[in-house]
């Protein structure tokens, strides 16, 4: 099962990565996906989106999902 992981803004710079495809054995948590993608600590303020919709860090990730991590937003 493949999951696409994306990092945005300061997280993209800190991880040095904007996108990575990772392979997982079975559905797992957002937190597990984070650990497989970077050695940084998952700060509780970091926002999570799965397939373009906000989810929390406790959510489950399935095959084919796009998981995005980003800092608090600052648009407008």
């Amino acid at each position: 099962m493949t999951v696409t992981v994306k990092f945005f803004a300061s997280l993209r710079e800190q991880t040095g990565c904007d996108r990575v495809d990772i392979t997982i054995e079975q559905s797992c948590s957002v937190k597990a996906i984070w650990k497989m993608s970077t050695s940084l600590t998952l700060d509780p303020h970091i926002l999570v989106a799965i397939n373009h919709a906000y989810r929390d860090q406790e959510s489950d990730v399935c095959d084919g999902d796009e998981v995005a991590f980003f800092p608090p937003v600052t648009g407008g």
Partner: protein, 144 residues
């Protein structure tokens, strides 16, 4: 609902007029409430020379649609227009336009302001400022 992301500078007043021309409810709206956010050349005490506005292609557009829908679904709003810049922006450039049309003023004022507040807290945009001697990510929006 008209939602649009722009990589080039836009004129909010022309955008409003263009949107209004193509609307079929002339005579039905009595109120238009507008907010335009413009890049300043100072932020948190520092001179800002340039800004890079990052977004999440695919999600940002959807999230703007969602939040405009959320704000206006139970409100007698006739039309909503949101235009947001992305990419390189310079002081004096307009960043965001929110325009709401309704029969009476309360719905237009309320929805326009709510859309701006929710947009600031939920729409996936990130500002990176270029100062005289360095860059920095804007970490928190000013309160509204």
């Amino acid at each position: 609902m008209i939602i649009s992301l722009r990589t080039k500078s836009f004129n909010p007043w022309n955008e409003i007029q263009n949107a209004q021309t193509s609307m079929d409810f002339a005579g039905a709206f009595g109120a238009t409430a507008v907010f335009v956010g413009t890049m300043r050349d100072f932020n948190e005490g520092d001179q800002v020379t340039e800004m890079d506005l990052e977004y999440y292609p695919g999600m940002t557009e959807k999230e703007l649609q969602r939040l405009c829908f959320e704000v206006t679904q139970d409100s007698p709003v006739l039309e909503v227009l949101v235009v947001h810049r992305v990419g390189k922006i310079y002081p004096g450039d307009d960043i965001v336009l929110v325009c709401v049309w309704s029969a009476h003023r309360a719905a237009a004022f309320d929805s326009c302001r709510s859309i701006m507040e929710i947009l600031k807290h939920r729409a996936p945009f990130w500002k990176k400022e270029r100062l005289i001697d360095r860059h920095r990510w804007v970490e928190k929006n000013t309160s509204g």
